[in-house]
C-alpha cells in the first residue's frame, strides 16, 4: 500500500504539459476523427486550448494543485469554444473545487469523479452516448477501484489510462446520441469519438506524471 504518496503542484503542471504534448502530437488524428463524424476541429480546438493552458500556467505559476486545475479549467472555457471547451473546462474547474490538500490518490479520485459528474450534468450525456464521458467515466471508476484496492498512484493512473483508452475504443461501434456526431444517426457507427480519444490522451498523460 502506497496511497500515502501525495501529488504536488508540479505533478499537476506536468499533467497538463504532457497532455498538451500528446494532443499536439495527435492533433491531426483527433481532427481526422472529428472529420469523420463531426466538423474537423477537435484537434485544433484542444491544441489551441492546451497551448493557452500551458502559457497561463507559465505566466502566473500556481502555488497549489487547486490553482492548476482552476487555471486550466478557466483557460479551457475561455479559449477553446465549441462543445469540448466548456465540457473539459468544467471537468477541471469542478475537480479543482472539490480537491483538498494534500492531494492523496483517494482525494484525487474523489475530485476527479466530481469533475466527471459535472461534465455529465452539463452535457446531459451518459455512458454509451459516444462522447468523452465514455473515456472519462471508466477512468474515474478505475481510479476509485484502485483506491479501494490500495493500489499505488503510478499503477492507479496506469489503470485509469487503460480504462480510458478502452472506453475510447468502445465508442467505435456506438451510435452517437449527443454532440455533433448524433446528427449522423446510424452513420456515426464505426468511428471512434474524437472527444473520447482526446480524453484518453489526458489520462495517458496522467499516467506519465505519477512518480
Amino acid at each position: 500500500m502506497d496511497t500515502m504518496d501525495t501529488l504536488d503542484t508540479a505533478c499537476f503542471v506536468a499533467w497538463f504539459e504532457e497532455a498538451a504534448r500528446l494532443v499536439r502530437r495527435d492533433r491531426d488524428r483527433l481532427t481526422e476523427l472529428d472529420a469523420a463524424i463531426g466538423d474537423a476541429d477537435h484537434g485544433t480546438n484542444l491544441d489551441r486550448g492546451l497551448t493557452e493552458v500551458i502559457k497561463a500556467l507559465a505566466e502566473s505559476p500556481p502555488d497549489t494543485p487547486v490553482q492548476v486545475l482552476t487555471s486550466a479549467g478557466a483557460t479551457l472555457i475561455r479559449r477553446v469554444g465549441g462543445a469540448s471547451g466548456p465540457l473539459y473546462g468544467s471537468v477541471f474547474r469542478q475537480m479543482g473545487k472539490a480537491l483538498r490538500a494534500p492531494v492523496t490518490l483517494a482525494g484525487f479520485s474523489a475530485a476527479f469523479e466530481e469533475g466527471v459528474v459535472a461534465l455529465e450534468r452539463l452535457g446531459k450525456a451518459a455512458l454509451g452516448d459516444k462522447t468523452m464521458v465514455d473515456a472519462l467515466a471508466p477512468a474515474s471508476r478505475a481510479l476509485a477501484l484502485a483506491v479501494r484496492d490500495g493500489v499505488g498512484v503510478r499503477e492507479a493512473f496506469e489503470q485509469a489510462a487503460r480504462a480510458a483508452a478502452e472506453g475510447a475504443q468502445a465508442t467505435i461501434p456506438l451510435q452517437a446520441r449527443k454532440g455533433r456526431a448524433s446528427y449522423l444517426g446510424e452513420r456515426s457507427i464505426g468511428h471512434e469519438d474524437p472527444g473520447a480519444a482526446s480524453a484518453a490522451l489526458f489520462m495517458a498523460a496522467l499516467a506519465t506524471v505519477a512518480v
Binding site: D39, A40, G81, G82, A83, G123
Partner: protein, 326 residues
C-alpha cells in the same frame, strides 16, 4: 487545398480586419462585431454568434434592423463565453438582450455559461433548430440550427428596432423558429484551413443529403441527380415535416462554393414544388447567406409567414449581408 489566407491560425482575425476596413458601419473589438454607433437606449439588444466559416452569418448581419453584435468563434467552433459576455454587456440599452443561439452543443453551452455570468443585464435566449434532416428526440442533441437563423435575426431585429420589449422579441423569435424548416444537400465537402483537406470524400457520382453547416457529412449518401430531383428531395423532407400552405418565405441558400446561377436553377424547382402544393412564394432570398466555407451545395429554408411576420421581414434592414429599405 488553396485558400486566400495568410495563415490558418490568423484567418478569423484577418477576415474581421477586412470586414472592419470594408464596413465603417461596424466596429470590431476583442473578436466581437458591433454596430459602430453602439446601443440605442430602450432598444432590446440582439446578440448572436457561432463558429466562423458561415459568412455572412453572423457578423454580416450586424446593423440596423438586425443584430447589435455578433460573436464569431474560430472556424466551425462556437465562440467562448468571454466574447458573449462582452457583447451582451456592450449592446444592452437598458431593455435587455436576446441571445440567438443555433442548437449545437457548443453554442448552447457557451451561450448558457455567458448568460449565467452576465450581471445587471436581463438576458433572454432563443434556440434555433430548423434542420429537418436531424431527428428530433429527447435522447439526442436535437435539431441543428441552420438557415432559419437568418430569418430569426431579421425578424427579431425588426421587432427590436420598433421598440418591442424583450419578452415579445424573444417570443416572436421563437415563433419564427417554430414556423421554419430547412434541408441541405452537398455536392462537395468543404475544407477547413486547419485540416487542409476535405472533411469528407464524396465521389463524382454522389451527393450528401441532409447536411448541416459545419461541413459534417449528411444523413445519407445518394446518387447525384438533376437539380429538379435534388430540390424535390429537399422539399419533400421539409413538406413532410411541416406541410406547406399559405404565404411562404423561401430561401435557396448556397453553401459557399456554388455559383448563383445554379441557385436560381434550384429556386425555379423549389417555386414549382411550392406551387404544386398550393402554397405561394411570398418573399424570397437566393444567394450565399449561411455558408460552409467552400462547400458546393445548397439548402432550402422555408418559413410560414403571416401578416405580422411579413411586415417585419419587409422592414428596413441595413447590414453588410442583407439590406433594403434604407
Amino acid at each position: 487545398m488553396k485558400k486566400l489566407i495568410n495563415t490558418a491560425d490568423s484567418v478569423v482575425e484577418d477576415a474581421l480586419n477586412g470586414m472592419a476596413a470594408a464596413h465603417p458601419s461596424l466596429r470590431i473589438r476583442d473578436q466581437v462585431v458591433y454596430r459602430a454607433e453602439g446601443p440605442r437606449p430602450g432598444k432590446v439588444g440582439l446578440v448572436s454568434g457561432g463558429g466562423s466559416g458561415h459568412e455572412p452569418l453572423h457578423a454580416g448581419f450586424v446593423g440596423y434592423g438586425m443584430l447589435d453584435a455578433a460573436c464569431p468563434g474560430e472556424i466551425f467552433t462556437s465562440p467562448v463565453p468571454d466574447q458573449i459576455i462582452d457583447a451582451t454587456k456592450a449592446v444592452d440599452g437598458g431593455a435587455g438582450v436576446l441571445h440567438i443561439v443555433k442548437n449545437y452543443t457548443g453554442d448552447v453551452l457557451n451561450f448558457e455559461m455567458a448568460a449565467e455570468l452576465v450581471e445587471d443585464v436581463e438576458v433572454a435566449s432563443v434556440l434555433v433548430d430548423d434542420d429537418v434532416a436531424v431527428q428530433d428526440s429527447l435522447y439526442t442533441a436535437g435539431r441543428r440550427g441552420t438557415g432559419a437563423t437568418l430569418f430569426v435575426e431579421k425578424i427579431a431585429g425588426a421587432l427590436a428596432e420598433e421598440g418591442a420589449p424583450l419578452g415579445e422579441v424573444a417570443r416572436v423569435a421563437g415563433e419564427v423558429d417554430e414556423r421554419s424548416r430547412s434541408f441541405g444537400i452537398a455536392l462537395t465537402s468543404c475544407t477547413t484551413p486547419h485540416a487542409g483537406k476535405p472533411t469528407f470524400d464524396l465521389p463524382e457520382t454522389d451527393v450528401e443529403l441532409g447536411i448541416g453547416i459545419h461541413g459534417e457529412p449528411g444523413r445519407r449518401r445518394a446518387p447525384m441527380v438533376s437539380a429538379r430531383e435534388l430540390a424535390g428531395i429537399a422539399m419533400e423532407a421539409i413538406h413532410g415535416d411541416m406541410p406547406l400552405h399559405g404565404d411562404l418565405l423561401v430561401m435557396v441558400n448556397g453553401m459557399g462554393g456554388t455559383p448563383l446561377m445554379e441557385l436560381y436553377v434550384v429556386f425555379a424547382e423549389v417555386a414549382a414544388f411550392v406551387k404544386g402544393k398550393g402554397a405561394r412564394v411570398s418573399r424570397s432570398l437566393v444567394g450565399n447567406y449561411v455558408t460552409s466555407l467552400d462547400m458546393q451545395g445548397f439548402s432550402v429554408t422555408i418559413c410560414l409567414l403571416d401578416d405580422a411576420l411579413t411586415r417585419l421581414w419587409d422592414a428596413p434592414v441595413e447590414t453588410p449581408g442583407l439590406r433594403w429599405g434604407r
